[in-house]
Symmetry: C2
Subunit: 532 residues, 2 copies
């Protein structure tokens, strides 16, 4: 590869002059702008290369000594990186929560980088700070529906905050539980609070053995990261089995009481509005009652399902979310914003003060610097993407998209249910569902436990094999997970998992995906065993 | 404002068709692409509007009901948001660590959003995962300089990790201290480790009263956030005063021993390579000795200064960093990458296993999913920007930029030092310096304590007043902070703080900034008092 000149003059050009219109980078950009789908289908190769093979391209641990020309590097990016990326825009990529995005995000991404604001403090984000606070306010209003006077008072208050914008649901869950932990061990006459004195001193002061968090087994793994991070310990995660895919309020209450009878304090109950694996929604209203009875924080992880609130038709599914103390949302999921737009919202605007920090050169007391109450420090202005989406799609636009996703999932579930060789495992509440290929007669109710277990073992092999082969073929992508369901008590099974978020996915796409899976399945040994 | 149609057909267009070439959004994009500096100088207003006034534009807590046309919204963004953003690209914005960026990041930002990969797991980031691991490897090699065989073994290992990519230095510091905490209270025969059993159980098991962290008072506020988050408690932050701006190894050792004599365990010593306020570098090599003697983790926060390692001329300033257990770097600082590119590096590739988490549908055991050992979950592919910068600028390009920044800071310091009405407070080690306007004779060594204190009070008022007025005038931006320095023992003073990162800043720009400050100063009452 030819090398660029090492001189200040060259470097200045890199900072001040765009590449020429005919350069490789400009061509890439033009193609992206004109037709993203075509760009991706042209450059992302469908036949998967093995990961080990791709790793060979990214194995040099040495910083290149000499500068490279921008366009030559752009070419390398196309060949090494873009070609082996995942086409998340594709209508047949229905295995994860990443989907096609509206076009306007492409130029806005450029604007974001051109402005390069840092949201940690007002001095580097003058208008972005109020914008981010408005976005938090809009989402707060959508979830909690307070009066206008409430928002007049708190939206731009220096002493309160309606939430924290962050990189994603994991940090949002951590932020919410951090607030909950600090509120559970507050300062009093003789104790300065857990933030100052530490967790062990707080437990001793209040006479608790442990703090704990309760959720169903479908809780996101970030909860487990959070209890580790916060010093609570993963053993203090009370996770209840949920063959019905939702947390039972009665069992939650009983488990919470049992936990506290051992001298512990239940810090928070986490209800899930759209589980990652099946899209189920916990009975939030009843869980709010349980949290009230146990006098603990009620957090709702609505990273996936929160956007359902835009839909007048389906928002009832989240009834009770307005009683949560804190709520996690991810705009990069069903709000179709690029990756990196999570939010933790607090019903009580004073709650975020439980984690408030100040510093001299920054985050001065009384300032409106966002960094004072966020887990993260420097952050980019991703809130602009959420703001733009809220305006350009509007509530009505979001409602159309949400309704369509849910209804498409229902159609897909009906297709599966009607097919003799497919078994619907979890029907969609929101736009997720799980199923498996199950050839031959349905013996789930007829055979004994041992036979069933054995058969499920073969079915698991079948699912894993088909999922991998389909992924490697590269035309479509469905994910898989392992679940316990009521039909097979005590026998977790492996299932296909589908997320119907992409508005561009058609019913025909879904039929094709099933056909492909069934034809792969028929070539496997497991299929032969099952149909023998 | 006219409203867009609410229909699926309209929404599909938003997802599949770019705006026309003559649309407002396309015009904005073209302007950004052709001449970013001109775009900013045309749209960012220089005369500051008050924050309260800007907040009025971002005060509606209601999600707009009806969709808006993209171009109308783009126009609103220009008028409300861009106009009142901070021109961080400007050569006269020298108050914070945000600077002009190379041009190629604009098209790459678009590519990043077009690809919209999620780095939490391989399945949504096939080539981006190896790329991110290579970036971590390159930075690891730059810092720790291990042999090639080391990187062959660990760079793509499923069971180890050289570091964690994250949104910024705050999360990087938290990640490093999380690892350090979990390593300090590990599993043994009867104890399952702090990650599982919790901090209180860990302290009890090992017979420690508290864990603690030691740094100088110049430590970043994220350390204080981290000890709160991790349950250690801010009272257990041992922060030593440092009128010389660096941590004294002797005092660190003594303070560490004193802390441990109270029955505590010092978890980590944090050395700083480029303090946020003055750019000083702690004596890392000596601090590594202290950490060894105290048998504790040695973390180096090189968020600002890490890039100095690219410079053969100045990398000696960071001598000893290669002995750190963990190092924080921010590529969005002196590596000129857009906001959101932090890294925590671990010398020992097994260290990140102290915070490893798994989940069924994701982060399966044995997978190379990055989310298993990062604090964050879903993340975008910002590592691509670092990768591209490393190639396009190269080590030699970075060396030129780093050397130039440091030398410009030295020139600026000489200018200040030679001026009768300016007082250089901290000379630059890296490219930061602090100073103040100090008219009249230098009485610092001549007068008694009370007189000096009084005079410093007036000088503080002068600095605050000038800084605000200059910021509001909008031509240039210098920040301010409050420091204790050796010359005024026991009397923290307010100073101007300058960060010379922008390669486009000229010596003439710096002279103009001083002239503007001096002429503002002469109109103040404080000036009159001081020169009376």
């Amino acid at each position: 590869m030819s090398k660029a000149e090492v001189s200040l003059a060259h470097l200045f050009r890199v900072f001040t002059k765009p590449e020429g219109k005919d350069s490789k980078l400009a061509q890439i950009e033009q193609h992206l702008s004109d037709n993203l789908a075509d760009f991706l289908s042209q450059h992302v190769v469908t036949k998967a290369r093995s990961l080990e093979d791709i790793e060979q391209d990214f194995s040099d641990p040495h910083v290149p000594e000499h500068p490279e020309f921008v366009s030559e590097h752009a070419d390398a990016l196309l060949k090494k990186l873009v070609s082996h990326s995942v086409n998340t825009y594709s209508p047949t990529f229905i295995g994860h929560m990443t989907s096609a995005l509206p076009y306007f995000h492409l130029p806005l991404a450029k604007l974001l980088v051109g402005l390069n604001q840092n949201l940690v403090k007002i001095e580097t984000s003058k208008a972005f700070t109020p914008l981010e606070r408005q976005v938090l306010g809009m989402m707060h209003q959508l979830v909690f529906g307070e009066q206008d006077s409430f928002y007049q008072q708190y939206l731009h208050s220096a002493d309160q905050s309606l939430g924290a914008f962050c990189s994603g649901g994991t940090v949002a869950n951590m932020t919410a539980l951090w607030v909950a932990r600090n509120k559970a061990l507050p300062a009093d006459g003789t104790f300065k609070g857990v933030a100052r004195e530490g967790l062990a001193a707080g437990l001793m002061h209040y006479g608790y053995r442990h703090l704990g968090i309760l959720s169903s087994k479908r809780g996101h793994y970030s909860l487990s990261k959070a209890v580790d991070l916060l010093g609570i310990g993963r053993n203090q995660m009370v996770t209840l089995p949920c063959p019905s895919q939702t947390l039972s309020p009665e069992q939650a209450l009983a488990a919470g009481k049992a936990f506290e009878q051992k001298g512990n304090k239940l810090l928070a109950i986490v209800g899930i509005a759209g589980t990652t694996e099946t899209g189920h929604v916990d009975p939030l209203d009843e869980l709010a009652d349980v949290a009230k009875e146990l006098n603990c924080h009620f957090h709702v992880d609505a990273a996936w399902g929160g956007a359902t609130l835009f839909s007048h038709r389906y928002r009832h599914l989240l009834k009770g979310i307005e009683r949560a103390d804190s709520v996690t949302l991810d705009a990069h999921k069903q709000m179709y914003v690029p990756m990196g737009a999570g939010m933790a919202l607090f019903r009580n605007p004073n709650d975020s003060n439980a984690v408030r920090h100040h510093a001299q050169y920054i985050l001065r007391t009384g300032s409106k610097d966002l960094g004072a109450t966020t887990l993260e420090g420097s952050r980019n202005g991703m809130a602009m993407m959420v703001y733009a989406s809220l305006h350009i799609l509007g509530r009505q636009g979001y409602e159309l998209l949400i309704n369509r996703s849910i209804e498409k999932a229902k159609t897909f579930a009906a297709l599966i249910d009607a097919h003799p060789n497919l078994e619907l495992i979890t029907a969609p509440t929101l736009s997720l569902l799980t199923y498996r290929i199950h050839p031959g007669q349905d013996i789930s109710r007829a055979c004994d436990d041992t036979t069933m277990k054995q058969r499920n073992g073969v079915l698991d092999r079948l699912t894993v094999g088909v999922q991998k082969q389909q992924r490697e073929a590269g035309k479509s992508f469905v994910s898989r997970t392992r679940l316990e369901v009521a039909r097979y008590p005590g026998q977790p099974i492996t299932v296909f998992r589908v997320v119907l978020a992409n508005p561009l996915t058609t019913e025909q796409d879904l039929r094709n995906i099933l056909d492909e899976q069934l034809s792969i399945a028929q070539t496997t040994r497991a299929w032969a065993e099952l149909t023998a």
